[in-house]
Amino acid sequence: MRPDDRKYTKSHEWIKFDGDTALIGITDFAVEELCNGNEGDLVYCDLPDADRVLEPGETFGEIESVKAVSDLNSPLPGTVIENNPLIEDHLDILSTDPWNKGWLIRIKPSAKTGSNLMTREEYEAFIAAEAH
């Protein structure tokens, strides 16, 4: 069910190229870790404004659930073009559709790839190992 059209990180973000920009979000696994299937458990998400320059791996925001706060890290370096205006008041989107409607930021990446990026298969092997 996880899409093949994008790359994944060990900190559970995804990045999907869209022309010369890229969308960044978090995976269903990350959402599940934060709120255990209960969308009401997400309480807050902080996203950067346009023009913020991100280093690879840099923390660009935070997401918070009833239980914990998690950093959001940029899979690639780049400049923020926009953030998803729906997220702040509709955190439930992250539970229902983390892959499409639940994107967090759009960046203009300054690199096309990084050694930290995993394919879907690699990511799924990674989380399977992490669960044990």
Binding site: N36, V43, Y44, K67
Partner: protein, 370 residues
């Protein structure tokens, strides 16, 4: 620590079968939630919840000097506790800081003690070391005696279906008795808990734990009973203004500034006890106070966040939670004296961002205060 090296309670497999999400809590593999945490909180506040407390420590101090001994290492006055009653107490070191907070069950000659999971080993070593000079023995009964809690307004109605030889509804708050539970004789039944609700804590042989757990769930059908994890338990205790070792009190946070004076006796008849002089000094000259705070902001106060009053740093958060009961985000914090008055406007520093909060009356929730 990996899952394989974590200790398991007798009910471990029952939680797995119920689909609980499990975490490491004080070296134990425990259920943090079975369903949504906030719904579990509501369930205990409005009906009833069942808790596995097998990870907590159960000790018995037995022998002619048991009470005399406990009075040298516990903060409250054990000899004055009526037989059959239970009191909150702490074990402090010479510096007045606690190694744990505990419940003391006063028996005719002996004292039964319940301690926190994470402090079990050092509590036992501490007790055994200091008991050497007394005619009494400290026995670890943790593995012979499991512990289950039933908490919430339907507790009496549920428990009385399964108990014989004891009128559980007649046991007063912070008292205990013994009865036959599900055919098991001599089960210690105490009217205590860590949720702010009416309820019981039950002590029984671990071979019967799963059967009793399931019998309670069955008896609670139609009365709203659900299994409740440690996530909700933490919110329940915080709403009820109860401290948690490692948050409000620890090796560096004494019980006087934590406002736990009700568990401390400076009576002369009690004699000297470990930490007394240090705590008398703190009482005479405290520098900070534990307060409750509420915030209307979205973000949840969490341990370690700093508190500011204008540009001045005045304190830090000990515990925090979303509170479904009072419908606000809540926390406890130490603040420098002068900032502890209810209504004082402060600001939380949440990883570099400020969020307004206010000092609130404690406890946040009381079932008897309407």
């Amino acid at each position: 620590m990996t899952t394989e090296t974590l200790k398991q309670t007798p009910l471990h497999d029952v939680h797995a079968a119920l689909g609980a999400r499990m975490i490491d809590f004080g070296g134990w593999h425990m259920p943090v939630q079975y369903g949504p945490i906030l719904e579990e909180v509501n369930c205990v506040r409005t009906a009833c919840g069942l808790f596995d407390l097998g990870h907590m420590g159960r000790f018995h101090v037995v022998g002619p000097d048991a009470i005399k001994f406990v009075d040298t290492i516990a903060t409250n006055f054990c000899a004055k506790i009526p037989v059959g009653a239970i009191r909150y107490s702490l074990f402090c070191l010479e510096d007045g800081n606690p190694i744990d907070d505990v419940l003391l069950y006063r028996e005719e000659q002996d004292v039964f003690i319940v301690v926190n999971a994470g402090n079990r080993d050092r509590d036992l070593a501490h007790l055994q070391k200091h008991a050497a000079d007394f005619d009494c023995e400290v026995i670890d009964e943790s593995y012979e005696l499991d512990m289950i809690a039933l908490q919430g307004q339907n507790s009496v109605a549920i428990l009385e279906k399964l108990v014989e030889g004891c009128d559980v509804g007649a046991i007063k708050y912070y008292r205990f008795d013994f009865g036959t539970l599900c055919g098991i004789e001599n089960v210690r039944i105490s009217r205590t808990g860590y949720t702010g609700e009416d309820g019981f804590e039950l002590y029984l042989p671990p071979t019967h734990s799963a059967a009793v757990w399931n019998a309670l769930l069955e008896a609670g059908k139609g009365l709203g009973l659900q299994p409740i994890g440690l996530g909700a338990r933490d919110t329940l205790r915080l709403e009820a203004g109860m401290p948690l070792y490692g948050h409000e009190i620890d090796d560096n946070h004494n019980p006087i500034e934590a406002g736990l004076n009700f568990g401390i006796s400076f009576k002369e008849e009690k004699g000297d006890w470990l930490g007394r002089a240090a705590l008398e000094a703190v009482k005479a000259n405290p520098t900070q106070a534990l307060v409750g705070i509420t915030t209307d902001g979205k973000r949840v106060p969490r341990q370690g966040y700093k508190l500011f009053r204008g540009d001045e740093e005045v304190g830090y958060i000990c515990s925090g939670s979303v509170s479904p009961t009072i419908k606000s985000n809540i926390g406890t914090a130490y603040v420098k004296l002068g900032n502890e008055e209810v209504g004082t406007q402060l600001e939380l520093d949440i990883r570099g961002k400020r969020q307004a909060c206010v000092v609130a009356p404690q406890p946040f929730y009381s079932r008897t205060r309407k």
